[in-house]
């Protein structure tokens, strides 16, 4: 009776990735399976490691900046903001109001672009192709704005220490306004496709549940933390870069699952649009760059500059030894820390749900591996 037969279930170990379209880069997960159920998961990362922190110790403060575009390449503008704010604090540089507003505006555009890419690929992974095409349609408009202002679409090198490189080009404000006027209708379109879609609900409700306390224990930040009911947003908790001048809401989830995190990101896009509207309405005139010394040489000291990136708390811990080269720049990568919770979140789910959970964590391997 107890004789093993060919149908007896055995634990099976398989590799998901590194070359797998749904792992958003080169994430490899060693899955331990019992049939279709996941017993355990172990992430293998580092395939994209380029040693950005080591490079930073060998470049001047200004020359470090372009490298941070290439960590989280979906949110290059946010990355630049975090670092630039930190160096400005250390150098005690005053940034003119106009530059502050433009920075907030572009960072929020970046948040929308990043969330659009997330929604597109997340829906595509789960099987909804149409959303992908819709999202890329809007993302393209934002990338055109980036190209107009920064001269690049992806690796933007957006901000400079002390302000901006260039003022807004002619026609920029009109184009930005046109985008945000149209955008709410577009978000409603995504909602029409997904929010009440039965397949979408079946695939996301109750998947990857993680309670608020556990989320804090795992150090989650960004939408995964807020999806678990913790209203922690760095823009609110420790306002930086002029964010205290703008009104916006911080959406919080209740059910701690993939579906709630989806709703939160959609709401965040609407809130970002609200912030952009305010920056455009109140955009002050004046210079775009403060007084910056020729050589950036902060006094001996350290500063932890954190911002709320699209994926969570992005921190730069900059330590200066008084020379023109940073002693250490530690990047606190939000997705590296968020990905740690994957092991816990996939347990007991089906293999197909692993894809949904990778999607809901919104990983970018360039930042995880740095």
């Amino acid at each position: 009776m107890d004789e093993p037969t060919i149908l007896d279930a055995q634990e099976l170990e398989i590799n998901m990735g590194p070359q797998h379209p749904a792992t958003h880069g080169v994430l490899r997960i060693k899955l331990k399976l019992d049939g279709e159920r996941v017993l355990d998961a172990d992430c293998v990362i580092g395939y994209l490691h380029r040693g950005v922190e080591k490079i930073s110790e060998n470049r001047t403060y200004t020359k470090c900046l372009p490298y941070y575009d290439r960590t989280d390449y979906i949110a290059a503008v946010s990355n630049a903001l975090g670092y630039v704010l930190g160096v400005e604090k250390l150098m005690e540089i005053e940034v003119p109001e106009r530059a502050v507003y433009i920075r907030v505006m572009m960072t929020e555009f970046n948040r929308i672009a990043s969330h659009l890419l997330w929604l597109a690929t997340h829906a595509l992974d789960i099987g909804a192709l149409t959303v992908f095409l819709y999202c890329f349609r809007e993302r393209e408009e934002i990338l055109k704005l980036f190209e107009n202002l920064f001269g690049a679409r992806l690796t933007t090198h957006a901000f400079r220490i002390g302000g901006l490189w260039m003022d807004l080009p002619p026609g920029f404000q009109e184009a930005a306004r046109r985008f945000i006027d149209d955008f709410p209708v577009k978000v409603d379109e995504y909602e029409q496709l997904l929010t009440n879609n039965r397949i979408w609900i079946d695939r996301t409700k109750g998947i990857g549940v993680i309670s608020g306390d556990e989320a804090i224990d795992f150090g989650l930040s960004g939408p995964p933390l807020r999806g678990s009911g913790v209203p922690y947003d760095v823009r609110r908790a420790r306002p930086y870069g002029g964010y205290d001048q703008f009104e916006f809401d911080v959406p919080v989830g209740e059910n701690c699952d993939t579906y709630d995190r989806y709703l939160i990101r959609l709401e965040e896009m609407r809130q970002s649009r609200r912030i952009i509207q305010q920056t455009l309405d109140r955009l002050p005139g004046g210079p775009i760059r403060g007084k910056v010394p020729r050589i950036i040489k902060p006094a001996v000291g350290e500063y932890y500059s954190a911002i709320e990136g699209p994926r969570g708390e992005l921190g730069y811990y900059i330590v200066s030894d008084g020379s023109a080269v940073p002693f250490r720049v530690r990047i606190r990568p939000p997705t590296f820390i968020n990905l740690q919770a994957l092991k816990r979140m996939v347990k007991g789910h089906l293999v197909a749900d692993v894809i949904a959970i990778i999607g809901t964590l919104d990983v970018v391997l360039g930042e995880i591996d740095r």
Binding site: I45, G51, K54, E57, G315, R330, Q340
Partner: protein, 214 residues
Amino acid sequence: MSEENKPGQPAPEGSAIPAGSGEAKEAKPKPPAAKKPPVKKGPSYEELTDDPLLKDLRQRFPSGVLSGQSFLGQPIYTITLDVLPDVMLYLRDSDEWAFNYLVDLTCLDYIGDERRFCMVYHLYSHKTGRLIRIKARAAVDEMVPSMTSLWRTADWLEREAYDMFGVEFSGHPDLRRILLPDDWLGYPLRKDYDIKLQDQAWIRNHLRIRKVPE
């Protein structure tokens, strides 16, 4: 590298060029010279004097707390390595402070110092909204107590510190490299690891590159 840059700094203050360029102009450079006294020195470390958390820690761990400073408004508490687990446990669980969120864990390498590594912990409290920094120095052969039993965040962060600095953590359940290959030699973020230095043998064997550029 920093040595090369040093001569560049005094240039804005020095008045070597106007002084040598003629008597007539000598009257003009004088007014800026009068403005000199408020020399911008930049921010500096300040001792925390009236900080309730520092007082509380000093009372509970009299020998363990070395200093309390603040830089640009961010408080820094330096403690000894042996009280680190107790201090962290206290900070996390006390009702008053409730630092329930480990924001970041990293390491600094002060090469040449007796206690070479400086462990840096950023803690945040969702209850009070405070962010603090805890520092503890460790020697190369010293084991740093692991924080994995307090916060699960620490798992990968400690693996990264081990990977990049070679800091060993006692009590970590799964201490192995995370970003670099398992059989890599050396710890890249140490200050004596040159940026051009690579594990030549590893590259030759795994990437089939016969001649690795020096």
